[in-house]
Symmetry: C2
């Protein structure tokens, strides 16, 4: 059994190939597409025939484990399978004939134990909202959906620790906590669908990371089921526990390849009661750096987002969003969105105003505007949040999710502009407070082209690697970037990853 | 070669014994002692004879690696060895005849590679300030001191990321950062001696954890040398990097058993410019819980410490510290120390005052006092910080570092009082904001006694285990608690720890 299901050299989901003949690495396509005939071809990788093919007897066994075969427990209908076999971007598609939907950790354990014995490959699936093809089968792997494992088990209003099953939808958890005056220390566009277990498995980032840190900071405990069915109970609700290796961190960000996360405990902060947003216009990226330094010092702990976008982003939004308005009288090369969240309206406003006066007096901004009511706040955020959609409406977009050191953060945008000249519009935006750039290369009114892609890759990865950046800041590796891992990780690191995978899932051949 | 150096079943430092004859687990002594003849006996464990004994040829080889044999590079003088062979409490003592003091990662790599080939056992040592016997040899292991690896390599004032060698002393790093307006997100009593690498290796806690989180939250990158000499470069300075398993977390808290940390990158926050401390008197522990809930909500992100102590702690301090004064007119059963740290004096004071008025109006406190100037702040902290020393002056103290769920947090103190009656004074204090209780059982004017210890152990561990607590909140396992790991970790977890240790250090027999 392998929890992740396909074997490829130098891949994270598929760490363990040794003996399979000549499996070639597919060229990773990092463009976004919604057209079915542009689905990433998997024909150049080969199913490992050492894995078994599902039989009716297997299905009968799973029926026994799950206590029935109605569609709330397992899915075999071809039409119903469709949504599980394909990712939401319709970029990656597998051919599984079975979805299992356990309700308990014990059922997950029995399923994995059986699959391990029978050498049936499995892919765990949360909300299936990932961007890198990590949650869908590539061949006929059984899909283990955590959808039915959605119970919130406990909440402690002294410590703020919530414990729930891994299939709990992020937004559901957020609503539950909001009613108690707390908030999930994580916020994502996909919150209406994504699962908290998937968030942990992929170490999801999002806009609150600047304030609250990553899942490694906030997850206190994890229960996971290993490939052989062993239930690994690391589900502590304690803030401090230095007894042996902290195994939960192995599961955070390992994308389901070391075990299936079944339960999770998170420390949650009180929900801020006062929110302000400022939108600033700047002349160059160096000003943004200076503003970031000052924001961290002067806004201190109420700083909750520091996002930037360059001018082409705003142009795309204005072109494609009917309600969007030019934010200032004059156009500027750069824009910064700063959000504060706190617990004292007057104090927060005073701090933000003093900060804005300071950066204006030091000529770090060309213009600025402050929103304190919900409507204006949401309008400012809309400028930032509709960039992706607007770019998508304009034509083919080649998208990259990079971490880069602050000193060379924006240079990749300029380098790509120089390289591509009038062949494309190169834009940059993202979580500059966390060093995370979303680089977008837009070819208006054109279709995706592998030929054009060769202008970008592997150059963009090589460049990122030279800067000691990361080729995947928050999206993960999945299927998309298995061949690119070496751009961000050393051979010794990849070797150790393989060693860990092999040790924990030795049945993979 | 094994990086940690002794073999015992069910131990974290010594995960891998399979074949050695009948090594018995020594009974772990958790009392503090400064008397030499009370040093923990290691005579009931046996050196593994599969490991080699140091030869002159080995020493010559190390001399070549280090470029000389003066005492700044290696120590063989018996008197000089003393301080490295024994921990600072003089509780654990080994018998090494060689300390190596490399200056570079490359030298560490060559040393470990050689030891691995020659089956020479090694113990890495940082500031040697640990409380559980994890940093000294138990037999004749070579001591690998990181003292000479103390260079601060870089600091980025935009991101706050500092990179340094692992032997950098915490206080040195703090001074360096303070001068730039930043602070290490970690503060310990041992800061004048402890190394930042050792802090990471032991996942050190301390008083800032409530505010900034653990080392897992703040360490961005680690360079470590594995048992075979492989240099594992996970020394990223990026805030976000989702490319494969996040291997650095394996080294954080593994107490040097999986590799020697040689370099580290940490994200550091701006140093707060405004600090206030309030001391409160309470009638029962439930009031403390209610105050904690309110402090988190009303003080929000300026809350930087929430410590408690019960009355006996104050009595010990008053008895043994000549400058200490009764804090209020009347004695109370409980005291809480609340610290705020922020960037706006007036705002912080307003928040703290409003909070204090609120809890007083709700009758959650019997009395309270606020300190805003350095002198008074330090007097309040002194009450908390001199508890350990004062207890030590009174007689033998049996000390436990426990994490417990908030609902049963103080019950262990009451249970132990009931159990021991007039045989001892049972006190509790600690980081209640993090769920970390320091339970102290004091037997005034008496000596340590194994007979008396049997009144406490294993009961205190069993009780903690029943509450799903941790038998080591922040001190780690080391040598002291190797036999107690099972009280906080499941058999499956311990099995996985052993698997990881075996995979990464296979030469241990």
């Amino acid at each position: 059994m392998m929890i992740s299901r396909i074997l490829q050299k130098n891949s994270i989901n598929r760490l363990t190939i040794n003996t399979i003949n000549s499996i070639k690495q597919s060229s990773s396509s990092s463009y976004h597409t919604t057209s079915k005939d542009e689905v990433v071809s998997m024909s150049n990788i080969k199913r490992n025939d050492e894995f078994s093919t599902l039989t009716n007897q297997d299905i009968k066994h799973f029926k026994d484990i799950l206590g029935g075969d109605d569609s709330s427990r397992m899915i075999t209908d071809k039409d119903e399978l469709e949504g599980f076999n394909q990712d939401w971007m319709k970029k990656y598609k597998g051919n599984s004939s079975l979805v299992l939907k356990p309700k308990t950790t014990d059922q997950v354990s029995k399923i994995l134990s059986y699959c391990n014995q029978k050498k049936l490959a499995i892919v765990p699936q949360g909300g299936n909202t990932g961007l890198v093809g990590g949650s869908v089968p590539l061949f006929d792997e059984i899909i283990l959906s955590l959808t039915n494992m959605n119970q919130i088990e406990s909440f402690d209003d002294v410590t703020g620790v919530v414990t729930c099953q891994s299939g709990c939808v992020l937004e559901t958890l957020e609503s539950y906590l909001n009613a108690k005056g707390f908030t999930v220390p994580l916020d994502l566009g996909a919150k209406g669908s994504c699962h908290i277990g998937g968030n942990a498995a992929t170490n999801a980032g999002g806009i609150r990371l600047l304030r609250y840190g990553s899942m490694h900071s906030n997850v206190l405990g994890i229960e996971a089921v290993l490939a052989d069915g062993t239930i690994m109970d690391c589900n502590s609700t304690l803030r401090k526990d230095n007894t042996g290796y902290d195994l939960k961190h192995l599961f955070i960000g390992s994308e389901g390849t070391l075990g299936v996360i079944t339960k999770i405990s998170i420390i949650t902060p009180p929900k801020p009661t006062s929110v302000n947003v400022a939108l600033l216009a700047c002349n160059d990226f160096n000003q943004i750096k200076q503003i970031l330094i000052k924001a961290k010092k002067q806004l201190g702990d109420i700083l909750s987002a520091f996002e930037f976008m360059d001018r082409p982003c705003i142009d795309y939004v204005l072109d494609h969003q009917s309600t969007a308005k030019e934010p200032f009288d004059k156009k500027s090369p750069f824009y910064v969105l700063i959000e504060t969240s706190g617990f004292h309206e007057q104090h927060d406003a005073e701090k933000l105003n003093a900060f804005l006066e300071n950066i204006m007096s030091e000529d770090l901004v060309l213009d600025g505007s402050l929103a304190t009511d919900t409507k204006n706040i949401s309008q400012f955020w809309k400028l930032r949040e509709t960039i992706t959609e607007s770019l998508g409406k304009a034509g083919a977009v080649y998208k990259y999710d990079l971490s880069l050191p602050i000193d060379t953060f924006y240079s990749i945008v300029e380098v790509m502009r120089e390289k591509l000249k009038d062949k494309a519009v190169v834009t940059g935006f993202g979580h500059v407070g966390d060093g995370n750039l979303h680089l977008n290369i837009s070819t208006p009114k054109q279709k995706y082209s592998k030929e054009f892609l060769s202008n970008i890759e592997p150059f963009v990865y090589e460049y990122t690697s030279q800067q000691k950046g990361s080729i995947s800041a928050e999206h993960g590796i999945g299927y998309m970037k298995t061949g690119q891992l070496h751009f961000s990780k050393s051979p010794a690191s990849i070797q150790l990853m393989k060693l860990i995978k092999n040790s924990m899932d030795p049945n993979v051949l």
